[in-house]
């Protein structure tokens, strides 16, 4: 695990205890429409282009830098959380490489900041929300709905064996 995560910032395996899942919160009704400069039609920041990206894979992340080298602590937090759950196969888009996408993704989700996490094409939130979902067990449940078995479930099973 990357040494950059401060020891005080502990993400315990205790978060693996799932509970009956509740549906992902509804995105703000109509909030993603209009407003702000949009990329040109067909441009990398257009609604169509972003829509294609978020549907590309069950887990899609828009971040600063890459999973191998995040360039922002909040983006790194998302990568680390996914890694804890054993999720290494996902689509990550570096918005620092593409200003049109950087603005386009904010327009699409009506969310002003990066990173942004999409599960099954649906906007889930940023780093704070993903951390909460990790800590309260929701992330294990949401991954299960996508057919992804969180690695933390196996870690907990190993602990139970002791």
């Amino acid at each position: 695990m990357s040494g950059v995560v401060r020891a005080a910032w502990r993400l315990g395996a205790g978060a693996a205890r799932g509970r009956s899942g509740r549906p992902l919160s509804q995105a703000a009704a109509g909030g993603a429409e209009g407003g702000g400069a949009e990329g040109g039609s067909g441009g990398s920041g257009s609604r169509e282009a972003v829509e294609r990206l978020v549907r590309e894979h069950p887990v899609v992340v828009f971040m600063k830098g890459s999973p191998a080298q995040p360039l922002c602590g909040f983006s790194n937090a998302v990568v680390q959380i996914l890694r804890l759950h054993g999720v290494e196969d996902y689509r990550a888009h570096d918005v620092l490489q593409d200003p049109d996408l950087r603005q386009g993704i904010k327009n699409y989700s009506n969310w002003p900041t990066i990173p942004q996490v999409y599960l099954n094409g649906e906007f889930v939130g940023g780093c704070d929300i993903l951390l909460q979902m990790h800590q309260n067990g929701d992330l294990v449940e949401e991954l299960k709905k996508l057919g992804i078995r969180s690695a933390l479930l196996d870690a907990e099973k190993d602990q139970d064996k002791k």
Binding site: A27, N76, L96, P99, T113
Partner: protein
């Protein structure tokens, strides 16, 4: 808490929009690579009855809505803890912030 002009604006707008029972506004800009004195990265703890019944995404959207002008301007990053008074009472602590990895230093010149 933070005392600069942007911090004060953030505090005032959140107070008006969400009538919090507890509000913390922390300026974390010095830890994110901006020039000294720049107010750009903030962390807020907002405890409000308005969050009752709302999932985290909706709570954060309420906070964003209160600060939409700032987020379109100088406010580049905003970490949010949004709890109801009951939630805060049972756990009056915010999680520690993830360490910065350069942040705004990696941005190209702003257009």
């Amino acid at each position: 808490g933070a005392t600069g002009p942007l911090a004060s604006t953030i505090r005032a707008k959140l107070a008006e929009a969400l009538e919090p029972t507890h509000l913390e506004v922390l300026d974390e800009s010095p830890w994110h690579g901006g020039p000294p004195g720049t107010e750009s990265h903030f962390s807020v703890v907002v405890v409000s009855g308005r969050f009752q019944g709302l999932p985290p995404l909706q709570r954060h959207r309420l906070v964003h809505a209160a600060l939409s002008a700032e987020l379109a301007g100088p406010l580049h990053a905003l970490a949010i803890v949004a709890r109801t008074p009951q939630q805060w009472e049972s756990d009056p602590h915010a999680p520690p912030a993830p360490p910065c990895l350069g942040g705004s230093k990696h941005d190209r010149r702003r257009g």
